[in-house]
Symmetry: C2
Subunit: 289 residues, 2 copies
């Protein structure tokens, strides 16, 4: 499996990719899923890939060194939209080469791509390209894309990421999202490729290969979990109140559990039942603290 996330915020782009691949749990390897096309002062394009490694490596290769030498590449394509089209075309070319043979082995044509960057004189853009070669672009309404094992790391993105977030804060958000994914899925693993692209810099100024010895990621890993547990402890538990203790006129919001058929009607308990109110306020708002 793989987890890659890319973000487009006002100040630039953040790219983060793990490096674990597996062909079954007894065949785990390390491959980089980030490919950088940097022409300092002219362009920085970053490609992240997920899916079948043989397919994604073929696509990356075609985008850098096409079989026909006069074909466009990500090194010379004139704008980001054309760059996304080119990735789509490369995926279709690889599909033509391999899909049928893979199908004979019941292997799915499974690959997806994130492409972001900037070309001199143009804006910063970020795209997600599907296995069919079609693609979508990130916007202020949806400032990030994920590919691979996306779900564990999505809640934190949905809760905190906004387009006006400073770049390094967005990088922190990506790393926390990755940390949640690493915690819950062993098929995603260190080291990580982190690239933070500062808008209009047209060069790679901030890049780190993050491994077990990276103190910042280790701090994130430790303190995010600890803080989460602390916040969790501070939120009050639900309360359950006996019906008799409710103020008069206060409906206990009681509802019966969904009982199975086959055993006659619900038999009430001898003692007065608890009002199953789950801390509905009894006259006032519950205190979050």
């Amino acid at each position: 499996m793989t987890y890659c996330v890319a973000m487009r915020v006002d100040e630039g782009l953040v790219f983060l990719a793990d490096t674990r691949t597996n062909a079954g749990v007894d065949h785990v390897s390390t491959f980089r899923k980030m490919t950088v096309f940097e022409q300092p002062g002219e362009r920085v394009l970053v490609l992240l890939t997920a899916g079948n490694l043989a397919l994604t490596q073929s696509v990356a290769q075609i985008l850098a060194e096409p079989t026909e030498p006069d074909h466009p590449t990500l090194w010379n394509v004139p704008n980001m939209f054309e760059a996304a089209c080119l990735v789509g075309k490369a995926v279709r070319e690889v599909h033509k080469m391999h899909a049928e043979a893979l199908h004979d082995f019941s292997i799915e044509f499974n690959c997806s791509f994130l492409l972001g960057g900037q070309i001199q004189g143009q804006g910063v853009r970020l795209f997600q390209i599907y296995a069919a070669g079609n693609f979508i672009e990130a916007s202020t309404m949806n400032p990030y894309f994920q590919i691979g094992e996306a779900k564990y790391g999505k809640p934190i993105l949905d809760r905190v990421l906004t387009p006006d977030m400073p770049l390094d804060e967005a990088a922190k958000c990506a790393l926390i999202s990755m940390d949640s994914t690493l915690r819950s899925n062993v098929s995603v693993g260190l080291p990580l490729d982190l690239l933070v692209y500062e808008k209009d810099s047209l060069r790679v100024t901030k890049f780190a290969l993050i491994d077990h010895d990276n103190e910042y990621f280790d701090m994130i890993h430790t303190s995010w979990g600890a803080r989460l547990r602390q916040v969790f402890a501070e939120i009050p538990d639900p309360q359950w109140t006996p019906v008799s203790a409710l103020p008069p006129g206060r409906s206990p919001m009681r509802s019966d559990p969904p009982l199975a058929p086959g055993h006659g009607p619900y038999k009430p308990v001898h003692e007065p039942a608890l009002a199953q109110t789950l801390a509905q306020s009894q006259g006032g708002q519950p205190e979050p603290d």
Copy 2:
């Protein structure tokens, strides 16, 4: 889609299920996925279901009112292990009835179950039963099971849930896990069935149907998100230091980004590059605060 989570802690069991079903986004309905077998003083068994609703309803029906009247049911099965076996048998019976016809319509035989509870004189147990009818049991090493849309809500469980957690705190944990799922997947929806089973009570004392008007869940929804953003803000951002600013002898942990082939070797930038060190400490530990 569906999200159900069940937990076995020292003090008892927690069951939480959403109620949204969909057959495509233009066909969304509300069905309860919890079925309670309560014989006060003798047994409380709770079944949670996910997957194809026609299948899971058939299974629940067979477990309550079998077609052969002398067959065992969850109302009379003598112990929890037999109860889990019975769910497995019911799934296989439904498979025999429907799988072939579903296959003709390219519909997968997709269903899964959580079954937990207690029968008088015995311990509290929790099982997950698969579509094939086989099953596993929760343990202190793995005190919870999820079915349906499990991934968004898994990180918080992995980080905070322990078997010695008090019951109501575990219920809070389940609700936060559900809140993350609701936030990231619209196919999971309110109202929620929450049942908290207190060990040895042998009756349902704590049950709530949680809808938009539930103040406690609303508080969780609001304050968890707000606190998460606050904790996020308190964790320091990564730092990037110019190589020249590093103390002598300190390796900058620099690594080059994974450049695409096809354009000659990496061309260094004119100005002295940043050491892409990502807040590696420069002699001391980084401060988490």
